[in-house]
Amino acid sequence: MLKIKATIIDQAGLERTLTRLAHEIIERNGGAVGIALIGVRTRGATLAERLVKKIETIENHKVPLGILDITLYRDDFRKRLKQPCVQVTDIPFQLDEKNVVLVDDVLYTGRTSRAALDALMDLGRPASIQLAVLIDRGHRELPIHPDYVGKSVTTSLGEEIQVRLMENDGEDCVLLVQSPEEA
């Protein structure tokens, strides 16, 4: 079992954070028209789906939702002992001229976001790409900066952030845990 060090966000907190993020996205883009949300598999996609619903509630406009699988773009693809499963990227709309908000659960080294940006560029030419993350835990290895942050958390390298979502994990919370190899 993983050693849980702290609960960073609980269920109610997650709800509030996502509502705030939705407002920020709308505010920054002057409304919901012309934006599209693209979530990075797996939990980024779930978060994006929830944000789309929140934006619809606030603005009464359903923004397009896409799901991005970045497995094939990872720079550590061949080195991972357990190769991740390649899944489908599902973006059922044109990216061109859209203001794309890329949604991910945790921003860490920035390598996932780099891969996601490359993947997006291969799919079309968006007007802009903004980055929304639920947790920014620091330790960046690339010059990647988020536009929207749910919560910034100071972590050490031996720790891990676990985002648990109802749709994927049966509960809503964000945990700070000890990395398995360190425990």
């Binding site: 773009y73 489908v88 799919l123």
Partner: protein, 311 residues
């Protein structure tokens, strides 16, 4: 490792989980092919050599496209005759090529077992693109992918392979893969073109095409080589077409849709008539598209660094 073997030498002994994983991955990768930029950077920095000791434009192009879609660097080595004739052994040829820093080798060779032989000569990952009349695993995988797309599953489905079973590596791999995946397989052709003891590979045998048609959900119609007639394995193209050719009239006798496959290139009017090959029941062109996706999947899944091998 993503698969249980670091090479793909054939489908003999390849577990169902591996086959499923390849087919699942291929289905995901297939979506890339229809994108505006149909290319991903996954195999950047990986060098793949396509070693073709036998002419095969289709398979080579399919592999080459798959490699390029994945951003691998590719080199083609094509030699119709055996390199032995030029005074260099196969072992020397591949060792020389590997010395230029190669990660993966795709090999097509007229001698059965050559891909296995290469695993003893070099360290690169070996992918069999057809060895003699033994196996052609990626062809069988793309056939299975196409059928699975059509049906959703292979389990319990009945696939008849028609024609020159004896000399067919396509049949060799299809029989093994389909049986592993729970499908039933029947082979049908003149007795001279059915190899001895084939029942022991878990397949049914018939020499009667109508029996095969009555039984089958799908036909995999093999290309008939003219040289087989020259060797006296069947009396004439005319008689072959009359007895084993897939024609609309023949299919009409059976009140059901039979899916039609062919590994290509087609001899229209010999093993299959044009109106059948181009009919709605035919999934021949899907096979070709899926060929690239399946080969991409195999390349991706075998490209992972094997930790044990590295250390």
């Amino acid at each position: 490792m993503a698969l249980s073997n670091r090479h793909l030498l054939g489908l003999d002994g390849v577990p169902a989980e591996d086959i499923s994983k390849i087919l699942d991955t291929a289905e995901s990768l297939k979506t890339i092919l229809s994108r505006p930029i149909p290319k991903v950077p996954t195999l950047r920095g990986i060098t793949v050599v396509n070693l073709f000791f036998e002419n095969s434009t289709r398979t080579r192009i399919s592999f080459e496209l798959a490699e390029k879609r994945l951003s691998a660097d590719t080199v083609n080595f094509t030699s119709s005759g055996s390199s032995v004739k030029k005074g260099e052994t196969l072992k020397d040829t591949v060792r020389n090529i590997e010395a230029m820093k190669i990660d993966m080798v795709v090999i097509r060779h007229a001698s059965a077992g050559t891909p296995y032989f290469l695993t003893k000569c070099i360290n690169s990952v070996i992918i069999n693109a057809g060895d003699g009349r033994h196996e052609h695993p990626t062809q069988a995988l793309l056939d299975m992918m196409t059928l699975r797309e059509k049906w959703g599953t292979l389990k319990g489905k009945k696939v008849a392979i028609i024609g020159d079973i004896r000399h067919s590596r396509v049949a060799g791999s299809n029989m093994r893969g389909l049986v592993t995946m729970g499908a039933e397989v029947l082979v049908c052709g003149p007795r001279t073109l059915i190899p001895p003891g084939i029942e022991e590979m878990g397949v049914h045998v018939t020499y009667n095409l109508d029996e095969a048609l009555a039984w089958a959900d799908a036909l995999n119609v093999l290309r008939i080589q003219l040289e087989r007639q020259e060797k006296g394995l069947f009396p004439s193209i005319r008689e072959y077409h009359a007895e084993y050719g897939i024609t609309r009239e023949r299919l009409k006798r059976f009140d059901k849709e039979i899916v039609i496959m062919h590994p290509g290139p087609i001899n229209r009017g010999v093993e299959i008539d044009s109106d059948v090959a181009d009919s709605d029941a035919s999934i021949i062109l899907e096979q070709v598209t899926n060929g690239v996706a399946v080969r991409m999947a195999v390349l991706v899944l075998l490209s992972g660094i094997d930790a044990a091998h590295e250390s």
